[in-house]
């Protein structure tokens, strides 16, 4: 038992978390007792202990689980430990519940955890739709409702869409570029374990006195600086989720720059790698801004600073500028990796070289640059200087151009292709449809007068769900189906997959399509109750949304049963050329016996004699990855 308590793992994490609470108790007590500040009339304050605890307990959990062990060892000046690979790879299911340095294990940890938060966030959405099915209050009071939509958005943004892309890329990106692992495997492991911590904090806010944080995922000051203690759970949770994104992004960038296989020049990289390169740049540059905005809120709330106290010279509008300087690039963080997934699926399933490969790559970089010039289009009605709206409207309209280049390139790739309409491809085509609709409503919102008209109405809700559900989630489903055989070595049920797609696609449009009309008619968003003239359409939306929720069960059933006992998949079921399909399914523990050599582009489908990667035959290679990764003859 004593050894278990000392070794990294959940036992050590347990007592360390208890230690964290004790630390918070003593720290706040000592500070309050010693300063004698007039605001600290009581030496023991539950709120102060909670605030310090939600910082200390997660950190000590990470120490306990072993996230920092190697660096502590290094910091103490001990000799550098040779790499023994004991923390690499999964032999039993238990290996998924510890610090693991294998990018494939981390990829699955990331993806499964993110989908857990998708389900929780989806259930919260069901609760909201139940409340909104009829005018008046039925199930929850207004404050709880505010908490529900805030947690719904925060979970799905910070703990589903952003990390699930990191998870999928974690699994396939090193394989795609011919690297044995990520550049910093231990940092990779730590960045995963920050996620459940952030999720636990955000969900834990429901148990805080005063209820969950209830001012939306945007947490505008001064609403947030005056909110009950639940707000701290959001502010701190975002710090952990943000740190996790930055670490992963840094890791991706270093991996892509320094660990590509010989011959894999930048313009021979698959577009998924390009997409994650662009996304990681955005994350590294933008995410510090949301961290800072939440630091401001925490300092105002916890220590009585004056960032947002207008009476003391603070500036409330500054919160929105700092927040949106991250959160607008964040919508591209939530979309660009999806673009990468769609490029992979559409090229493979059309059996054609991707149209305009270089423009696809350049348009990603253009989005990265332009993404930093549009943030104030979220603030057209905020009362900032009116002239700023004009340049922001123009840049917002311009940023549709690189996105349009991508959409037309995908369409041109489909043109006269030999289409194979299986589940991943259906999701890719569904994405093209719904994302284009969401993009068009985005361009509408770039126009200042129209934006002012529909601001804070259901039109915004419709737009955001068309781009994040119809856009990102469709690509995520497509990506999960596409790489499921590679990740698990099993094949999913194609019939159930198609059922999942059609039910999702139809019910999605039935749920969120009418919201455009509701918004134009003037129904405000973020309210638990509404005028009775909106009742019919809301009932319709609620019924459709329950169906949409149920359609997820088809996906879950398909994934769980296929993972447990689906037919064994071959190494390359889609006849893809990119390197991840040239190794066994699931890939060997160290990916490659010898790093392959890349001699051509990744998407030369249907080009006679085209070769992407060459695997040197090795004596140890047990039937995997020998010979040429040749485009299968059509």
């Amino acid at each position: 038992m004593a050894a278990k308590l000392r070794a990294p793992g959940f036992y050590r994490a347990g007592w360390m978390m208890a230690l964290g609470v004790a630390f918070a108790f003593f720290l706040t007590w000592v500070i309050r007792a010693s300063t004698g500040h007039s605001t600290f009339r009581h030496y023991i304050s539950g709120e102060a202990i909670t605030t310090v605890s939600i910082l200390a307990v997660p950190l000590l959990f990470l120490v306990g689980i072993g996230g920092f062990d190697y660096w502590f060892y290094w910091a103490m000046g001990r000799p550098t430990r040779p790499e023994d690979h004991s923390g690499h790879g999964a032999r039993t299911w238990k290996d998924y519940f510890r610090i693991n340095t294998d990018h494939k294990v981390i990829g699955i940890q990331y993806t499964v955890t993110s989908f857990f938060f998708l389900l929780v966030g989806g259930l919260i959405a069901m609760l909201m739709r139940a409340e909104l099915a009829q005018p008046g209050a039925q199930f929850v009071d207004a404050n709880t409702f505010n908490g529900l939509f805030s947690v719904h958005a925060s979970l799905l943004i910070f703990l589903f869409v952003i990390p699930v892309f990191a998870g999928l890329a974690n699994f396939v990106l090193p394989l795609m570029i011919g690297a044995p692992d990520m550049a910093f495997p231990r940092l990779n492991a730590l960045s995963y374990w920050l996620l459940p911590v952030a999720g636990a904090l955000m969900l834990g806010s429901f148990f805080a006195p005063g209820g969950a944080f209830a001012d939306g995922w945007t947490a505008y000051a001064p609403l947030s600086t005056n909110a009950p203690i639940g707000q701290d759970f959001f502010s701190v949770g975002v710090q952990f989720a943000g740190a996790s994104s930055i670490m992963t992004a840094l890791n991706f960038l270093v991996t892509i720059i320094t660990m590509r296989a010989p011959g894999m020049s930048f313009f021979r990289m698959p577009l998924l790698v390009w997409a994650n390169f662009a996304t990681s740049l955005l994350v590294v540059i933008a995410t510090p801004f949301i961290a800072a905005s939440q630091f401001f809120v925490l300092l105002d709330r916890g220590l009585g600073f004056n960032f947002f106290k207008a009476g003391n010279g603070g500036d409330v509008l500054m919160y929105q500028h700092v927040f949106w300087f991250y959160s607008h690039p964040a919508v591209y963080i939530m979309m660009l990796p999806g673009f990468g997934i769609i490029s992979e699926i559409i090229a493979v399933k059309s059996r054609k070289p991707i149209f305009g490969y270089r423009m696809m790559a350049f348009s990603l970089l253009a989005i990265v640059v332009l993404g930093f010039t549009v943030w104030a289009h979220h603030m057209f009605t905020s009362g900032m200087a009116a002239w700023i709206r004009i340049p922001m409207a123009i840049t917002t309209a311009i940023i549709a151009v690189p996105t349009g280049i991508k959409v037309f390139s995908w369409l041109a790739t489909l043109w006269r292709g030999v289409l194979r309409l299986d589940t991943p491809m259906l999701f890719a085509l569904g994405f093209l449809t719904t994302f284009t609709l969401g993009g068009i409503s985005g361009v509408m919102l770039a126009m200042v007068p129209f934006d002012i008209h529909v601001s804070s109405s259901y039109f915004i809700v419709a737009h955001i769900h068309y781009v994040l559900f119809g856009g990102s989630l469709m690509t995520i489903f497509g990506g999960v189906y596409y790489w499921f055989p590679k990740m698990t070595g099993r094949m999913f049920d194609e019939r159930l997959g198609k059922m999942h797609f059609w039910s999702t696609f139809v019910l999605f449009n039935l749920t969120f399509g009418p919201m455009h009309i509701l918004g134009l008619q003037g129904m405000p968003r973020r309210v638990a109750d509404y005028a009775s003239r909106f009742a019919d359409m809301n009932l319709f939306i609620s019924i459709a949304s329950f169906g949409l929720g149920l359609s997820t069960l088809i996906f879950l059933y398909n994934i769980v049963t296929s993972w447990r006992g689906g037919p064994v998949s071959v190494a390359n079921p889609w006849r893809g050329m990119t390197l991840e399909w040239q190794v066994s399914s699931p890939p060997p523990i160290f990916n490659f016996d010898r790093v392959p050599t890349v001699v051509g582009g990744p998407y030369e489908y249907g080009v006679p004699g085209a070769v992407h990667g060459i695997f040197a035959p090795t004596p140890a290679a047990a039937g995997v990855g020998s010979g040429l990764a040749r485009a299968p003859s059509e």
Binding site: R91, T258, V284, L303, V322, W563, I589
Partner: protein
């Protein structure tokens, strides 16, 4: 999960991963630190945004009437921190040339200079006569200098580890990345202080 784990336990366990191809002249650790510094610059950027909104946006006199910023003391402190960058450079060049005394003396001096800077900074907080709770101007003063102080503290932690390892005989002219990478961070902390000092105290 079982399916995945079964196949993972293939015959590949007896050896390590194949050596990764090196596709860039920049070392991974160096690149990682540079990207981290970009991130850090953006954190400071956000704090400077707040500074801009509060100082320039509000248009109130800076520093607020009745308060005074110790420009001279902080100027001496700036000199201390900048000289610590020079001693850091001394330590880095020493280990590249195999000069162990230079490494140890340089890194220890850097650590002591950094600690002095932090001590003077804390002393300044104690005697400056206003608190961040008073007004937004004081809030942003404490936030920018405090954010920088936190970075000095992190840098000092890294320097402490490097000092311990230097005195234990680690690092060689061939293998000195452990001095190089924290050194870059320390230089970043110094350059950032020059920006903070000139905007908050001088301008």
């Amino acid at each position: 999960m079982e399916a995945a784990s079964v196949a993972h336990a293939a015959e590949h366990e007896h050896h390590g991963p194949p050596p990764a191809n090196v596709s860039s002249r920049v070392e991974p650790q160096l690149l990682g630190m540079l990207l981290f510094i970009i991130s850090e610059v953006m954190v400071f950027g956000a704090f400077f945004t707040a500074y801009f909104f509060i100082r320039v946006g509000q248009g109130d006199p800076w520093p607020a009437p009745g308060t005074e910023l110790p420009v001279a003391v902080a100027g001496v402190n700036t000199a201390i921190l900048v000289s610590s960058s020079l001693t850091m450079h001394w330590a880095q060049t020493s280990i590249k040339n195999g000069n162990r005394f230079g490494l140890k003396a340089g890194i220890l001096t850097t650590f002591l200079l950094g600690a002095t800077f932090l001590f003077v900074q804390i002393n300044e907080y104690a005697n400056i006569g206003f608190a961040p709770q008073n007004h937004a101007q004081q809030t942003i003063f404490y936030s920018l200098t405090g954010l920088h102080g936190a970075h000095v503290f992190i840098g000092l932690m890294l320097l402490l580890f490097v000092t311990i390892r230097s005195f234990r005989g680690h690092y060689t002219p061939q293998e000195h990345r452990g001095v190089e990478v924290p050194g870059i961070y320390w230089h970043f902390v110094d350059v950032m202080w020059i920006i903070v000092y000139s905007t908050v105290y001088v301008l």
